[in-house]
């Protein structure tokens, strides 16, 4: 398959704007459709690898992908343009939606809908965690780590600013011992 990176910053901006504009229900599938299938900026394998890397970096993964790809194609200007393109419309829309919502928040029905949507969104996180965790939890050390972090974060409500660094060092030790 022939792939060609965007030719100028304007094209890069419009591509990411288009991803952000229609990314209902999650950005990742739309990023794939726009960049790999429609505009053919990069190959499937390249996309998968870039996003895979971004998942191991802090920050939103497509946000990071916009930084990494923008840099690859146009340097610093590319990173900034791609990131702003991605965030511009969703930023405006989420605030607009919130303003509209706040106008109607006193209506019990609206409140019930939004609370239900929130609970369903929480369910999507639980589903994602179960899906990702199923494979990992076959190793006892990984399962123990998951349970311990969950207890600290969700039950004891300790700050992640303590949990994450400590858990990471423990996990790194376990990984080097080949327990994970």
């Amino acid at each position: 398959m022939d792939v060609a990176p965007p030719k100028h910053l304007g094209e890069l901006f419009m591509g990411f704007l288009w991803i952000g504009a229609r990314s209902f229900g999650g950005v990742l599938p739309w990023a794939y459709r726009t960049m790999v299938e429609e505009r053919r900026w990069l190959t499937h394998a390249d996309f998968t690898e870039t996003v895979g890397l971004c998942q191991f970096l802090p920050g939103p993964n497509i946000g990071n992908a916009s930084i990494v790809l923008g840099k690859r194609w146009f340097g610093l200007a590319g990173s900034i343009v791609a990131f702003l393109g991605l965030m511009a419309l969703p930023f405006v829309w989420v605030l607009a939606l919130f303003v509209v919502y706040n106008d109607f928040a006193s209506l019990p029905a609206v409140n019930a809908i939004v609370t239900g949507v929130g609970a369903a969104g929480a369910g999507l996180f639980i589903g994602t965690a179960l899906k990702l965790g199923k494979v990992l939890a076959r190793k006892p050390a990984a399962l123990a780590l998951i349970v311990a972090c969950f207890l600290c974060a969700a039950v004891a409500r300790l700050s992640l600013l303590y949990i994450v660094p400590v858990a990471f060092l423990v996990a790194l030790y376990a990984a080097r011992k080949d327990w994970l």
């Binding site: 802090p58 369903a120 639980i126 899906k131 965790g133």
Partner: protein, 171 residues
Amino acid sequence: MTLLELALYFGLLSLISVGGMPAVMPELQRYVVDVKGWLTPGEFLQAFAVGQAAPGPNILIASLIGWKVAGIPGAIVALAAICGPAAVIAWWVAELWERFKDSPWRKAIQKAISPIVVALILSSGVIIATPGAPDWRMWLIAGASAAAMLATKVNPLWMLGGGGVLGVLLL
């Protein structure tokens, strides 16, 4: 002062946001609701719901919190702060990471991060579904949505819509 506080705290959060927004939700909720009292548990849940239902990266919930706390400047500062430090890391690390493709340390880091991210995403789900006292109706909606996601491959917007319908019927 509040803007500075937002910037510093969200900037710090940015550095540990491995796995994206879902992974830092427990911390965000703890700080914004429990420690600072900027939002009530119900308001936090609603901000989360709006962030999920709107298109775009779900990190945008940061801008909703910023907006609640300090208006439009708060929204911009919060979003910039939660993305900025992570973006700088992505900018520097991406090539380095490629170069160490076969390093045992790179593989160890990947393996170490995965279980932590899973635990944090699970914690997020449970915490968000329990905004006040435990409520079986909230857990029922969350459980149904999780089950639908695991059983099918439809766009998650259907689950959010279903949650809205169940919300009207149950809540």
